[in-house]
């Protein structure tokens, strides 16, 4: 079981992080100018953070690369990806991808 004080402090800190990041440039009363390279670099950070979180979730199983095609995640990602580039819709991507996932997991027992 996770210690309650640790989780509480951790969650409170996460709330503070949310306020800080969402209001980062809204806090100061003065106008702020960032150096050009920082603006350019910041452009890639969110993308990189998202990719870094999800890539291992898709291609790793217990820390090892996928070794079989009979993994529902690959097909869910492929179908969801196809839907996204076809319709440009995130919601439809989640629905189609999850439908494939459930069909393979429950239907075929993958």
């Amino acid at each position: 079981m996770i210690p309650a004080w640790y989780a509480t402090v951790g969650i409170a800190g996460l709330a503070v992080v949310t306020v800080i990041t969402r209001g980062f440039f809204l806090f100061s009363e003065r106008e702020l100018e960032l150096p050009a390279w920082a603006v350019q670099g910041l452009r890639y950070a969110p993308l990189a953070a998202l990719v870094a979180v999800i890539a291992p979730e898709i291609v790793l199983t217990n820390g090892a690369l996928l070794s079989t095609w009979q993994d529902a995640r690959i097909w869910a990602v492929l179908v969801g990806t196809a839907y996204f580039w076809w319709r440009r819709g995130i919601l439809g991507m989640i629905v189609t991808g999850t439908a494939v996932l459930l069909a393979l997991k429950i239907g075929l027992g993958w």
Binding site: T8, L14, A45, L50, G80, G97
Partner: protein, 203 residues
């Protein structure tokens, strides 16, 4: 959240106050693993870095409002509110109908998000883990990622991030996320530089 060992009250607290889906998804495994608090917060900060950029943009619309109101608006502004708002008001200057538009979008988003989260927390025990429904969260983040891929440079940076995150997965404390961000930002800056050198008329 409930399934990972977080108690019901703490799960509710987390969804109510953190109010950031991708940060929660990234933070939860860290909390469960008992990672040091600074790693937890630093990871959430990195995942939330996109909001730092949005906030610079928000300032152009809401910079004239009092600070407390600016921060409240910023706190409630998630990805979708930002994308929709920027599409509705392409001109980054204050207009009368912006605040009502913002509040309508933010209120609806907050209610549906919190409602769905609470439902998930309550129903968690009814859905078997082996269905792998948690993967829907990955699909959602993947969709947001796709919507950020705007040109060749972002595609390459994303590829670098994916490769480094997987290659350094064995690092402790989820430091693979930090190394992947550093590598992708470096790659992005290098690409910006080489593309600019290749096109001198852009200077």
């Amino acid at each position: 959240m409930v399934k990972s060992g977080l108690s019901l009250p703490l799960s509710i607290l987390m969804t109510m106050v953190v109010f950031a889906g991708s940060a929660q998804l990234a933070a939860l495994p860290l909390i469960v693993a008992g990672a040091p608090l600074w790693v937890l917060w630093a990871t959430a900060f990195c995942v939330n870095l996109r909001f730092v950029i949005y906030s610079a943009h928000w300032r152009r619309y809401f910079g004239h409002l009092p600070r407390a109101q600016r921060l409240l608006l910023g706190y409630l502004a998630v990805d979708l509110s930002y994308v929709l708002f920027a599409r509705r008001f392409p001109d980054a200057k204050p207009q009368l109908e912006q605040l009502p538009y913002f509040w309508g979008s933010a209120a609806w988003n907050w209610l549906s998000w919190q409602g769905a989260s609470l439902l998930g927390i309550v129903l968690a025990d009814r859905v078997p883990t082996e269905w792998g429904l948690g993967f829907a969260g990955v699909l959602a983040l993947l969709g947001i990622t796709y919507s950020l891929l705007s040109d060749k440079k972002t595609w390459i940076a994303a590829g670098v991030a994916a490769f480094v995150a997987v290659a350094t997965f064995a690092l402790p404390l989820k430091l693979n996320i930090v190394t992947a961000i550093a590598a992708a930002v470096a790659a992005g800056l290098l690409l910006e530089r080489s593309f600019r050198d290749a096109a001198p008329e852009g200077r």
